[in-house]
């Protein structure tokens, strides 16, 4: 009746039903006595400082981007691996070219330092603190 993907849908539904059953079951049994201190975010007993929805490091974003590239590549590799033994040398050469292109990208990412978690401290360009006045800039540009 159901296809094999239908059985997978059944698994998802059973998972949801199990979690819902557990939560509803405990909702009936457990006490409900909230008060403001109990509902405060846990910060090791201190009063919470500010909001937790802060900005986080851009590194996580870079890792996600690299992951995306590699994951797509792995998705392409799986059909190849399935027919590998039937196709033989042709499949090997085809994939050698594909992987070679990918490895060039990998080496580039490595050389650029995007795979390093510890980044060198960014060099902030030093600029003069005092804004040049109109007269000063005018006199500078006047040829001697």
């Amino acid at each position: 009746m159901l296809t094999e993907f239908g059985s997978i849908l059944v698994f998802f539904l059973l998972g949801i039903v199990f979690v819902a059953g557990g939560l509803i079951g405990s909702w009936i049994l457990r006490p409900h006595r909230p008060y403001p201190e109990k509902l405060a975010p846990y910060e090791c007993g201190e009063e919470p400082v500010g909001n937790a929805w802060v900005r986080f490091n851009v590194r996580f974003y870079v890792i996600a981007l690299i992951f995306l590239i590699f994951e797509v590549e792995v998705v392409f590799l799986f059909p190849w691996a399935l027919v590998y033994k039937e196709m033989g040398m042709v499949a090997f050469l085809e994939m050698a070219v594909f992987l070679a292109i990918l490895i060039v990208g990998y080496v580039y990412v490595w050389a650029k330092g995007d795979l390093d978690w510890d980044k060198p401290r960014p060099e902030v360009p030093v600029v003069s603190q005092v804004a040049p006045t109109m007269t000063a800039s005018r006199t500078e540009h006047v040829p001697a």
């Binding site: 998972g15 405990s26 457990r30 846990y42 994951e71 033994k85 499949a91």
Partner: protein, 348 residues
Amino acid sequence: MQELLKSFLGDNALVYIIMGVPPLIFILLYALVTLYMEMKVSAHIQDRVAYMRTGWHGVLQPFADILKLIQKEDIIPAQADKLLFTLAPYLVFTGTYAGFAAIPFSEGYIGSNINLGVFYIVAASSIVVAGLLMSGWASNNKWSLLGAMRSAAQIVSYEIPSALAILVAVMITGSLNLNDVSKFQEGGLFNWVVFGGPLPLLQKLAIIPFTATAFFILLTAGIAEANRTPFDLPEAESELVQGFNTEYSGMKFAIFYVAEYANMFLVSAVAVCLFLGGWQSPFGSALSGPIWGVFWIVIKGMAFVFFQIWLRWTLPRLRVDQLMYVSWKVMTPMLFVCVFAVGLILVL
């Protein structure tokens, strides 16, 4: 098993529901056993005795823990995003449990006999990442957010090595369906993919170093994906309290816990099916059959669960940069070499 059920009940929805239930029962029993095992193994490694008072050697302690967690008040912080906060345990558990659909527990039982098999498991377990991120973000707690970000970066990074290691096994077996992969490794210990599978002897000898490396990396990446020590940075209790589940209490916390244990078995079972013969007996046709199949896959899986608990008390936790270094700069290049080498050996 599906045919057998259909002959009794006819072709209706009940058959499919019954087909889905055994993994769920297995997860619950297994979680109880592992809860007990983790405490006892941890204690004995550290020369302690752990629970001794609830029942014989504390065997009733896991039941007591479950009872306590069911009765415990469930706190949703006032500033949390309530919808996402409640949704996260559903995603984490369902993603892990759905992965069990493609694990063959025996020749006759597989939840869903799809030809995508292990590919589907990798996809389904990615849902867990979304659940973890959701829980960390919705908690509105600094520890949770940092834990969730670390966890996502870690799982995502280790998915590349594990997918490439799976690729090595798939090249040899030529199938993604874990039941077919297990059937392929018929004929005892030395026909397992970790020993090169049923290939001619010369090819086998050449391929063993690469399949063994791939197996080792798959196992390590699996431990990282299950957020276990030495890769338990998301829950590093000395830095982040409890990581993404700091704000969770009661039943929701219990569900995160069960999902983590289930994930430990899932990664072990995938490694076992791909490299160690799945439900195949190590003695060839001796001690094999549908019931022995269940025994073998559970024993092999539990051996690796034990291994993960053992590692927890053997290795110190890594730093975040070391974690990324291992994944991107050690495992990935090693696996590129493995894929090339295995490809070359299979063609020649």
